[in-house]
């Protein structure tokens, strides 16, 4: 017997009711998926055939030697490569099941949802407070007095509040490198992203600042999904749930971090994680 006929409710309607009751019930488990993703600049292939799922609320580390394509991969996920001359892609990247290149997608909204932290801290030439709320203002998420609240909340979140609360109108360039990076993190968090892409976020920082960024990364999950490119294998081991190993334009191996490091399946992976290559 057909359920819908008996209750006079169509399956679509049941779906929509369920969605209202629990907005998360219908969301894909994986926040980002790549399907047969090939990336190239002009005729040069950078990366080919990447099929990968990024489960919501996890930290994934992208490791591999320089030139293996991991940074290009990362920058593709929020379409930072689109404007680069000669960049072409085949296959697809889906954010919550919808192609990020889809006609119905708003690029600016994708970038709001998929934030990014760069290798070198890049605060804007404006006051510390204005830096934190720069994205919020641009997207019109908050204004006036609300901005102060946003600034304080995010600065507390990254553990910078006590250090900067008395000099919110100061130049961000008077902060240390580590503090500047935390400020950039606060700025990225302020627009309420779902995914954060981190491109070697600690390679320009001293060990103590590195530790505070790593600790923060842990506290940001599972609310956020983090994808981090790192040359620091120790960092990949310490912070990530899953690891992807890129080599010569291919995704060689991926899996739970512990098993990838302890029992790599591929010979190249074993050589890399044991420090025999790269």
């Amino acid at each position: 017997m057909d359920e819908s006929r008996k209750t006079d409710i169509s399956p679509d309607e049941i779906e929509s009711v369920l969605e209202v009751l629990d907005p998360d019930s219908n969301r894909p488990r994986d926040i980002i998926q790549t399907d047969g993703l090939n990336l190239r600049f002009g005729e040069t292939s950078i990366l080919s055939g990447v099929n990968m799922n990024f489960p919501r609320g996890t930290i994934t580390a992208l490791i591999g030697p320089t030139g293996s394509g991991k940074s290009t991969f990362l920058r593709t996920l929020n379409r930072m490569n689109d404007k680069v001359r000669g960049f072409r892609h085949e296959g697809d990247v889906k954010l919550e099941g919808r192609s990020i290149w889809g006609a119905d997608q708003d690029l600016l909204d994708i970038r709001r949802r998929v934030g990014m932290l760069f290798q070198r801290p890049n605060p804007f030439p404006m006051s510390i407070k204005d830096n934190v709320v720069a994205g919020v203002k641009a997207h019109g998420i908050a204004k006036g007095k609300q901005l102060d609240v946003v600034a304080e909340t995010r600065l507390r979140e990254v553990g910078l509040w006590d250090a900067v609360k008395d000099r919110l109108n100061d130049s961000p360039y008077r902060l240390s490198g580590g503090q500047q990076q935390l400020l950039c993190l606060a700025r990225a968090l302020a627009v309420g992203p779902e995914v954060l892409l981190l491109d070697e976020p600690t390679s320009a920082l001293d060990p103590l600042s590195t530790e505070s960024v790593e600790t923060l990364m842990r506290t940001l999950t599972p609310a956020l999904t983090l994808i981090v490119v790192t040359h620091n294998l120790g960092q990949a081991r310490r912070v990530s749930d899953n690891t992807m190993f890129f080599y010569e334009g291919r995704l060689v191996e991926h899996g739970p971090t512990k098993s990838l490091f302890d029992q790599p399946r591929e010979a190249d992976t074993a050589r890399y994680v044991n420090g025999l290559m790269g």
Binding site: R111, A138, D170
Partner: protein
Amino acid sequence: MSLVTQSYPKTSWRRFKSSAFRVSTLAALLFVIAPALWLVLGVVVRAVPHWQWSVLTTLSQGTSGGLENALVGTLVIMGGVLVLAGSVGVLAGIHLAELAHVRKNGRPSGTIFRLAIDVLSGFPSIVLGYVGYVALCVGLHWGFSLLPALLILSMMVVPYIAKSTESALRQVPTNYREGAEALGMPVGYALRKVVLKSALPGIVTGLLIALAVAGGETAPLLYTAGATNSLPSFALLHHPVAYLTYYVWTDYNQPTAEAHVVSYDAALILVVMVLTLLVVSRVIVTRTQRHSESYR
């Protein structure tokens, strides 16, 4: 051991080169500073002893009288050039730096635009002035008036503004742009709030040169603005406009001491105006750059 003894003569040679270089840079500096000081002092020494504040509030009577009409005229011309050439030049610079190079086919773009700018900046000002006279004042029957003067002066200074705007924008760190992009800032918003702000010192420099030229040019104005002893009427056409350099030039060529005083007064006013502009622009730059990377 032999290596060590050999290094002594090398050291003294290196020191000699170092001090020779230092001396030549200092000499070059003097070469710039000396004439600037000489000019400013020359004007001040000749103008100040005879200075009367009434010069600023009385109209000219040719080789005597005040300079009110010329002062107001120069200010009107400078303001007009700032608005006209400033907006055209800055927009052109933004186009060259931000929009022209993102062409999809990968070919360099903006080449013709850049060439046109170079050609324009290479023209002698008197040629531009004459062209303005023939084409605008006579050809279009505009007569000696404000609009042809503004158009010709703007043609002269737009290249400076466009070039300095372009190079200032190109020097904005990629970091800023990427950071803005990654936050999902709209392109125009990022340009206004992040990129232009850090390019401001360069843009202000270009505008400053433009204003100084607008205040200090004579030849193209003789052909387009004409000359008059009355205040500018603010009509764009058919009304000549007075300006300070006219009196600097014509009254200096007169045989009377009275006319020479007017000439030096006009020069002094111009010098003070340019110095004021410099100070104001420095204040603007330091105020807006207090959060910049280089300021600290």
